[in-house]
Symmetry: C2
Subunit: 270 residues, 2 copies
């Protein structure tokens, strides 16, 4: 099977123009079929602040009311997405910028109102979309890849009934990856600020080169893996269980090392 | 040859949610291959005002400085484009939202600094793109249409060197149309506030049903066609000369009449 590389890039790299330009050059140099999924960065929060709209985050997730949804759609699916595409095109990388609504590529379900475990009250995330098995129109995505396009996704999805939804970009990238395993030998790359999964949280040189399921359970039980990394790893092993070949976690500026399998931490099933 | 309908919709319809919803339903009901090109409406100007950025228009064209380019990219290529796509998807119309940067579909040249005929000084439109013969990647656009996608274009293009450019949506729609004449029997539909070209500017019932080149010259010489309509007609006859089958000019809410060739004014060469 042909190889597909799905790269997720977070806001911290997007916010730094120099790092971002280097990252996009490195991304465009990846061989074979590839997909970029990008987060939002500070621009959306800055614009919300400038317009006097309060940014509400609960457990790291933005509460997306009608006004916030407009802003994140503008910033993520408009400004950031199209700026990335124009840059990639200048590197001869035939990028096509997409939201989940485009080509009905990613459907989501509006998150139901939760009961907040802390207050016991209702917790409404607003226009936030959760993905499910079958969210991704993998056939249509395959056809775009097959036509030579490099899809660049913002994490805006839709419900199929005309409603746009704000979705977690980590989840978008892992669900896209697992949906393509019947078409491609698929790898997922998370680009973070950290150089990988560290055995010593304080020491950036302590990157663990490879983690399989056994090692993962061991590291979790010993408490070596910190809070922030746990959801990424849960996500990653879930994706591996669904047929993904490998997941990498590392720092954006090390992306060229991917070629020699020397990028950050490699996660595999066995 | 198969039929292709290119519809251009202006800001006035976008600004009215009820009219817009009706328009999108009507658009989705058009048979065969189709493309939608949309303008911006008031939303960009409102947002610019809210952020304290002055909107500068010269001869109806926005002066696009760095900040304005960011805003129009957000609003046109993000908010408006994705809202349209999500709505069309809910009508089972497989829309894909695009800027000219996506898939390198439309390249433009940054408009050179003009000498202002009035003041004699330099006139810099900023990040405004002008289209040229060969601007549209017609092969790639044909392939998207052939794969069953309905392209929805905002009028943001790029220069191929990483720079996004703000482009006139009327021009985008006519250049897209003429670029597709080797693949399709192509019609271009301009949706305006007026029901068509009027023989009496004051009387909305005085729509001229059909205008050919001879009639057009006659109407222009007699002064019956007013200023606002002249550039549209120049554009239209230019497109007809480049192989377009027909151009229609009419009011958005009359779009269903297109089927019985009874929509607004039909422009043909002979």
């Amino acid at each position: 099977m042909e190889k597909l590389t799905v790269v997720k890039i977070g806001g911290n790299v997007i916010d730094n123009p120099v790092d971002f330009e280097v990252f996009l050059t490195d991304f465009s140099a990846i061989d074979g079929c590839k997909i970029l999924v990008h987060g939002g960065g500070k621009i959306a929060s800055d614009l919300l602040a400038e317009l006097g709209i309060e940014s509400k985050l609960v457990q790291g997730r933005r509460i997306t009311d009608v006004k916030s949804l407009k802003i994140v759609t503008m910033v993520y699916a408009g400004l950031i997405n199209k700026s990335i595409v124009a840059k990639l095109q200048s590197y001869n990388c035939n990028a096509i910028g997409l939201s989940g609504a485009d080509g009905n590529l990613i459907r989501a379900l509006k998150r139901p109102i939760h009961i907040d475990p802390l207050s016991g009250g209702e917790l409404d995330y607003g226009f936030v979309g959760d993905l499910y098995e079958g969210s991704v129109n993998s056939k249509a995505l395959f056809e775009l890849l097959n036509s030579g396009f490099i899809p660049v996704f913002s994490a805006i999805t839709h419900d199929g009934n005309g409603q746009l939804l704000n979705t977690n970009a980590d989840t978008v990238s892992s669900v896209i990856s697992t949906s393509m395993v019947n078409y491609f030998d698929t790898s997922l790359i998370y680009c973070l600020e950290k150089p990988g999964v560290l055995s010593d949280f304080e020491d950036e040189s302590s990157v663990i080169r490879q983690i399989n399921m056994g090692k993962y359970q061991e590291l979790t039980q010993s408490g070596q893996i910190r809070n922030g990394m746990i959801p990424k790893l849960v996500n990653a092993f879930d994706a591996l269980n669904k047929g993904l070949k490998e997941v990498y976690i590392g720092k954006a500026d090390a992306l060229p090392l991917l070629k020699e399998q020397n990028f950050g931490t490699r996660l595999i099933l066995e």
